[in-house]
Point group: C2
Chain length 336, copies 2
DNA sequence: CGCCGCTATGCAAGCGTGTGCAAATGCTGC
DNA sequence: GCAGCATTTGCACACGCTTGCATAGCGGCG
């Protein structure tokens, strides 16, 4: 019944009594059509239910309008909120998002990426914490523009968006100091992601500047369970910290739950905590976590605006963007 | 530099010393090519970095391999986990996911959907709670197959996947009853989504079967805040419930935080709680929520398997699938 | 009136593939 | 050696669209 397939520009042209070119031009912004024919075409198109075939258009124009989002741990609060904002912004700029899930470690990632290349995606945005070098190469070699979020890769034609992790870490140290904490610790995962490492290094350095050592713990995959595991280790250790900076809000949530429910300690009286990301759960009553907000909106904005700038000629184009992560004060750090 | 654009089958053919058709057939499963030429083509393709252009292929084959995921509240735990599983499953079946974000209420949704139609997406999967009727129509009218998840639309050529919400609700009532609770309540949002309504109705009916009335509260948008608001209302009301079934885990989390932190009550001693979805946070130490698990894997599996069955001829095809939501026992309901 | 310049339109050549059809090739059995 | 058949290959057209080029129309100006 509705298997009547699709309407082509040809049919619209026939119905409107014009040439196929006229139809094409009607749907091409900036083309030369008279007001009158444009109207007739639009009406005919409306009646027939015509939609420009972007496969064909992409073929001739050599630009597909497809942007590919390469993401791992998609179901994680921070990632999913970034994904939401990006898809929203992209579709508001007349592009469309194709998402590639890199959770599996078998060959399916490569296969998926090749899929994206086959669709001639114009750009890839990599949200994945640790994209293979090979993925990046593949994208570039196939003429895609590339945006890396929180990732360390220096190369031509790619935009990197990072956060001022070191500054944030310093702010955290300062907050802890004012709260009277002198036994600092850092809770990290074993993932080794650049941004996580940067926070850790920044924290250690800022603490050292005040003459404070830092107990660093790295364990497991970035997430809630990792926080709980670290809580167990730290709180049974010889020297209990009284302030811990968690590399991630998820880690912080796990850490807080561990500290409270397994050790009966209270926050911030016994131990102060600061997280990073400002995921939704950080604001929930059970946590009320002081943390640093990922400037998700800004990231998305800068990304699509960079995609919009087609002049990828000058290799001197500003390719590294460092955004600010603002501290959100809640209740897990004692007032100074 | 890498702006050398793309390699076409023509070039591969030249390099391999065969006709372009041979190249095409090499990359078309089931086509007739001799082992020998296939090998030569593959090698040439490898060296040149050739990737079949799916825009062109989609054009002639009249199937794009694109599946469109229409989703609202993408950053929500349940939605994002469903999205993750779906993208994974899709790309494992040689398809690719295009996501359309319907959070904004302005025209951008329609625009985005039209975008998907323009790419000749083969199917749309609607995760959005309340898709406009017009969206559904548009998809169908353009020859897409349609999968509706937790949604009530009876029509030809579409697959509906629902949960046995009523059974779950009945199970919840039973659990509450065994725990000795006699003052039941249902915490719902004002969204009016079919599945939410089904849970509510099922709960009320099952309670009535035992002669128990149910205090029903509907408020705001589905989410954490909604749960907190309802907690405030219910706990200041004349008759405090001692058992509440929350339409969603997010609502349950908000409700629990409200009950605990604003009213100092304890769970499950003072009030038993059951949620729905089994989001990750439900298993966190601060909640340890007894809830019903969305069979996310099963949903994704059924979806792509249905997409794989190309015989959409018989209108009598099984188009409604009711999956089971299993109860996950944790700590928010007293043992029977 | 003739020419210029501008805008609107149509023609036709692509864009990179898939695929039906016919020709070519190779193999088998007589 | 030849008919008969299966397999492989190439040709050429189709898919639906964009766009350069040429042409037609038209108003203005000298």
């Amino acid at each position: 019944m509705s298997r009547k397939v699709f309407v082509s520009a040809q049919e619209v042209a026939a119905k409107a009594g014009v040439s196929r070119s006229a139809v094409s031009r009607t749907f091409t912004p900036g083309a030369s059509v008279s007001k009158e024919t444009r109207l007739r075409v639009l009406q005919a198109a409306e009646e027939l239910g015509y939609h420009v075939n972007h496969l064909a258009r992409g073929l001739t124009r050599r630009e597909s309008g497809i942007v590919c989002l390469i993401v791992s741990d998609l179901a994680t609060p921070y990632r999913s909120s970034l994904l939401r904002t990006l898809t929203d912004r992209l579709q508001n700029s007349r592009r469309v998002a194709m998402v590639i899930n890199t959770d599996r470690s078998d060959g399916s990632v490569d296969r998926a990426l090749q899929q994206a290349i086959r669709y001639r995606a114009e750009a890839s945005i990599i949200l994945s914490g640790m994209p293979d070098r090979s993925i990046i190469d593949l994208c570039l070699r196939n003429g895609q523009r590339l945006v890396l979020i929180n990732r360390d890769e220096e190369q031509e034609g790619i935009l990197r968006i990072n956060l001022d992790d070191a500054v944030a870490a310093q702010t955290a140290v300062q907050a802890f100091w004012r709260a009277g904490c002198r036994h600092l610790a850092f809770a990290n995962s074993a993932a080794g992601t650049p941004s996580l490492l940067a926070r850790e290094a920044g924290f250690v350095a800022a603490a050292a500047a005040r003459g404070l050592p830092v107990l660093v713990e790295r364990q497991g995959a970035t997430g809630y369970e990792c926080g709980r595991a670290i809580a167990r280790r730290m709180m049974t250790g010889r020297q209990r910290p009284d302030a811990v900076f968690c590399a991630t809000d998820l880690i912080a949530c796990g850490f807080m739950d561990g500290v409270r429910h397994e050790f009966g300690l209270s926050i911030p009286a016994d131990v102060c905590i600061v997280g990073f990301d400002d995921i939704e759960q950080a604001s929930w009553g059970s946590y009320d976590l002081t943390t640093f907000a990922q400037p998700v909106d800004e990231i998305a904005l800068e990304t699509v605006s960079w995609l919009g700038a087609h002049d990828n000629l000058a290799s001197g184009e500003r390719s590294l963007l460092t955004l600010h992560a603002e501290m959100i004060w809640r209740k897990t750090v004692r007032a100074g």
